[in-house]
C-alpha cells in the first residue's frame, strides 16, 4: 500500500504579469465582438507525472533548475493544487521547505519555537516536552531568549531545522535545507536525517542539488526534466546518468566559454591543449586504462629562460585531481621566440569515466615568473573500452589498479 500515490499530475502556470485594466477591457471587448483574445501563454511546470512511494522509502528528487522539483513538493504538501491529475497522501506531511519560513524576527528564539511548532501542527504540550531537546540540538541554549532578528542566518536555520525534524510526521519533505550551517552542524543534520530514516522508518522526500548527498541517503531517485519524470530508479544509476548529462552540457558550454582564470603577462599566447589517444588521434574522448598524451602548444614573444611547465587535470567543478610539473627538467634551457609544443605522455590513464578539464601553467626566468596560467583549457570525457561501466565506477575519480589477495 503506497503512502504517496501520484497519477498524471499536471500543473500549469500562466506566464507574465497581471493584466492591467486597459488590457482587461480590451479583452472583454474582443470577446464580445468575437475576435481572438490575447491570452497569456501557459507554462507546464509539471507534465503528466506519475509515481508511487511506499512507506519507509527515502526518495531523492534531482534535476536542473526549473525541472519541476519544488512544484511537485508543493503539490504533495497541499500548498498548491494541481491543474489536472490525482494524488493521494496517507498520513501527515511535515514540510521542511525552506525552514524558518514562519519565524518572526521580533520574537525570541523561545517564542519562535512555540510559534513554528504550532504552525507545523505540534500541540503545545508536545512542544513543552520537546523544548529542551530542540534547543539542545540547535546549540542555542545561550541565545534562546534573544530576538531572532539578532541571530545570524546560520543560527536561525539551526533552530528551524531542530523544530522541523522534531515533528513526528509520517512523511518528511526536505527541500535544499541540508546545505546550511557550518560544517559541524551540517554533519549533525545529516546524522539526524539518517536517524529519522533508519531508526524511525519515516518516508522522506529529499530535493537537493548536492547529488553526492542524494546518492548517499536515498534508496531511490527521481530525475526530473522539464516537468517530466525522466528517470526513476536506483540512486547510483540515476545519479550517474545525471552526471553524464551534466558533463555533456558543461562540455558543450565550455567549448566556446571563456577559459577559466586565465592569467598571462602577454609574453605567451595562443595556448592550446590537445588530447591524443592510444591510436594517436586527436580526440576529446580518452579511454580509461589506455595510454594518452596531452599536447600543449603555444607562441612565445620573449625567449623563455629556464622554463617550467605544469599540466593538471581537474573536475568540471574545479576540484584539482592531479598536477604534474616539469620542475628542473628543462633547467638551463632557453626557448627562443616562436611556436613550441610540449607533450606529456600518460602510460596508463587512471581516471574513471566522467568529464574532466585540463589546466596549464608556464613559468620562466631566474625567479620563475608566471608567464601563463589557465584552467579549463580543454574538456574531455573518459570512457571505458567496451562501454562496460561497473557499479563502483562513479564512486571516486581514479583507479588504484590494485592487486587483491585473500588469506
Amino acid at each position: 500500500m503506497p503512502i504517496i500515490e501520484v497519477e498524471h499530475l499536471t500543473k500549469e502556470y500562466r506566464l507574465g504579469a497581471m493584466q492591467g485594466l486597459k488590457q482587461a477591457l480590451r479583452n472583454a471587448a474582443a470577446r464580445l465582438t468575437d475576435r481572438t483574445v490575447t491570452e497569456r501563454p501557459l507554462f507546464k511546470a509539471l507534465d503528466d507525472v506519475s509515481f508511487s512511494i511506499e512507506p519507509g522509502e527515502v526518495v531523492g528528487i534531482i534535476g536542473h533548475n526549473g525541472a519541476g522539483k519544488s512544484t511537485l513538493l508543493k503539490i504533495l504538501a497541499g500548498i498548491s493544487k494541481p491543474t489536472a491529475g490525482r494524488m493521494r497522501v496517507e498520513g501527515r506531511i511535515a514540510p521542511l521547505i525552506e525552514v524558518g519560513a514562519g519565524f518572526v524576527p521580533d520574537f525570541t528564539g523561545r517564542e519562535n519555537v512555540y510559534l513554528n511548532g504550532s504552525i507545523m501542527g505540534l500541540p503545545r504540550r508536545e512542544i513543552d516536552r520537546k523544548f529542551d531537546e530542540i534547543v539542545d540540538f540547535a546549540e542555542m541554549a545561550e541565545f534562546i531568549d534573544t530576538p531572532v532578528k539578532r541571530y545570524s542566518s546560520g543560527m536561525q536555520v539551526k533552530l528551524a531545522f531542530a523544530v522541523a525534524t522534531s515533528i513526528a510526521s509520517e512523511i518528511l519533505i526536505v527541500d535544499e535545507v541540508l546545505a546550511v550551517g557550518d560544517l559541524a552542524f551540517q554533519r549533525k543534520c545529516f546524522d539526524r536525517m539518517e536517524d529519522l530514516i533508519k531508526r524511525q522508518g519515516r518516508t522522506v522526500l529529499l530535493v537537493s542539488h548536492n547529488i553526492r548527498q542524494v546518492e548517499r541517503i536515498c534508496h531511490r531517485v527521481l530525475l526530473m526534466d522539464h516537468g517530466h519524470v525522466a528517470a526513476d530508479g536506483l540512486p547510483s544509476e540515476i545519479c550517474t546518468r545525471f552526471y553524464s548529462e551534466n558533463d555533456e552540457k558543461i562540455k558543450r558550454q565550455s567549448a566556446h566559454a571563456a577559459r577559466a582564470r586565465e592569467q598571462t603577462t602577454g609574453d605567451v599566447e595562443n595556448a592550446r591543449v590537445e588530447l591524443i589517444d592510444d591510436a594517436g588521434n586527436v580526440t576529446d574522448r580518452l579511454h580509461f586504462g589506455e595510454s594518452a598524451r596531452i599536447r600543449l602548444s603555444f607562441d612565445t614573444r620573449i625567449p623563455l629562460v629556464n622554463p617550467t611547465f605544469g599540466i593538471g587535470i581537474h573536475t568540471t567543478d574545479f576540484l584539482y585531481l592531479a598536477t604534474e610539473n616539469t620542475h628542473e627538467r628543462f633547467q638551463g634551457m632557453t626557448l627562443p621566440v616562436g611556436h613550441h609544443t610540449l607533450e606529456m605522455t600518460i602510460p596508463v590513464f587512471p581516471f574513471l569515466p566522467g568529464a574532466y578539464s585540463v589546466r596549464v601553467g608556464i613559468n620562466s626566468g631566474e625567479l620563475s615568473h608566471v608567464r601563463y596560467y589557465a584552467e579549463s583549457l580543454a574538456t574531455f570525457r573518459v570512457l571505458i573500452p567496451g562501454q562496460r561501466i561497473r557499479g563502483n565506477m562513479k564512486e571516486g575519480f581514479v583507479s588504484l589498479a590494485p592487486q587483491w589477495a585473500l588469506y
Partner: protein
C-alpha cells in the same frame, strides 16, 4: 456547516498561537503597548463629544459621551478586524507559500485578535458607567450574542475581501476608505433613534420612508450598534425591527463569502 466548525476546532491551538503572535507583535516594541488599543475609541469619543457641542445631537436619556463610546466599541472592532483580516492572507505570504493549513485561519485569527482589544475597551466602558453612575440591567446578557453576530458580520467582509485581495490588492487599499464612509451610514455619531424618528415617525422621505429605513438597516452595524447601546446603557432588549434586515443579509452573504474564499484558496500560493 458542522464540518466547517469541527475542522476549525482542530486548529484551535494554531489560531490561539497566531492570535497571540499578532498581539505580541503589535505591541512588542511600542512603549505604550496595549494602551494603543483604547486610544483610538477614546480619542474619537472626545472629538465627537466636542463636535456635538456645536451641532447638537439628541442623545435621549443617556449622556452623549458614553453613548458614543458604546457605539464606538462594536464599530471599532468591526472596522479594525475587517481591515486587518483583508490583509491577513497577503501579509502571510511566507507561510502561505511554505506550508498548508486551512487558509481561513488567517482572517479568522485577525478577527479574534481584535476581540482582545475589544475586551480592554469594555473595561473603559465599565469605568465610564461607574463615572456616570449607571448600572447594567439583566439585558446585558444580550452582549455575548451581539458579539457573535458582530464577528460573523466582520467575517462576511473579511473572507471575501481577503481572497479578492490576493488577486487585486486594490481591495486592501479601498476597504479603509469604504469603511470610514460606512461609519457615517451607521449610528455611531448619532443614535439610531434619530433615523427612526425622521423616517418612520415623521415620514420625512414621503412614501419612500419605510423602504429607506429598511435599506439603512440592511447594514448590520445599524442593528448591532443600537442593540449594544440598548443592552448595556438603556437596559432594554434589542429592537428586532432594526436587526432583521442586517441579519438576513449576513445569513445570505456569509456562506457565499466562505465558499468563495474556499474556492479561491487553492490558488493563493500560485498567485500571491
Amino acid at each position: 456547516m458542522l464540518k466547517v466548525v469541527k475542522n476549525l476546532y482542530d486548529y484551535r491551538e494554531l489560531m490561539l498561537t497566531l492570535a497571540w503572535k499578532n498581539i505580541a507583535l503589535r505591541y512588542k516594541q511600542a512603549y505604550l503597548g496595549i494602551a494603543w488599543a483604547i486610544i483610538k475609541p477614546v480619542t474619537l469619543m472626545l472629538i465627537f463629544t466636542l463636535v456635538r457641542a456645536f451641532v447638537g445631537i439628541e442623545s435621549g436619556d443617556v449622556p452623549y459621551p458614553i453613548l458614543v463610546f458604546a457605539a464606538l466599541l462594536p464599530w471599532t472592532f468591526f472596522q479594525e478586524s475587517t481591515s486587518d483580516a483583508v490583509n491577513s492572507v497577503v501579509g502571510n505570504t511566507a507561510l502561505i507559500k511554505k506550508i498548508y493549513f486551512p487558509r481561513e485561519i488567517f482572517p479568522i485569527t485577525s478577527v479574534m485578535t481584535k476581540l482582545v482589544e475589544l475586551g480592554i475597551n469594555f473595561l473603559i466602558l465599565a469605568g465610564l458607567m461607574v463615572w456616570y453612575g449607571m448600572l447594567p440591567s439583566i439585558h446585558i446578557l444580550w452582549v455575548p450574542l451581539l458579539l457573535v453576530y458582530t464577528v460573523l458580520a466582520a467575517l462576511t467582509i473579511a473572507l471575501a475581501g481577503a481572497a479578492v485581495n490576493v488577486y487585486y490588492r486594490d481591495v486592501g487599499q479601498a476597504l479603509p476608505v469604504l469603511l470610514s464612509l460606512l461609519m457615517y451610514a451607521s449610528p455611531v455619531i448619532y443614535p439610531l433613534q434619530l433615523v427612526k424618528d425622521k423616517l418612520l415617525t415623521q415620514q420625512a422621505a414621503g412614501e419612500w420612508s419605510n423602504a429607506l429605513y429598511t435599506i439603512y438597516t440592511l447594514n448590520p452595524l445599524a442593528g448591532i450598534i443600537d442593540a449594544f447601546q440598548n443592552a448595556v446603557l438603556r437596559g432594554t432588549a434589542p429592537d428586532p425591527h432594526a436587526m432583521l434586515p442586517g441579519m438576513v443579509s449576513i445569513l445570505l452573504l456569509l456562506p457565499l463569502s466562505y465558499l468563495y474564499f474556499k474556492r479561491a484558496e487553492s490558488f493563493f500560493a500560485d498567485v500571491i
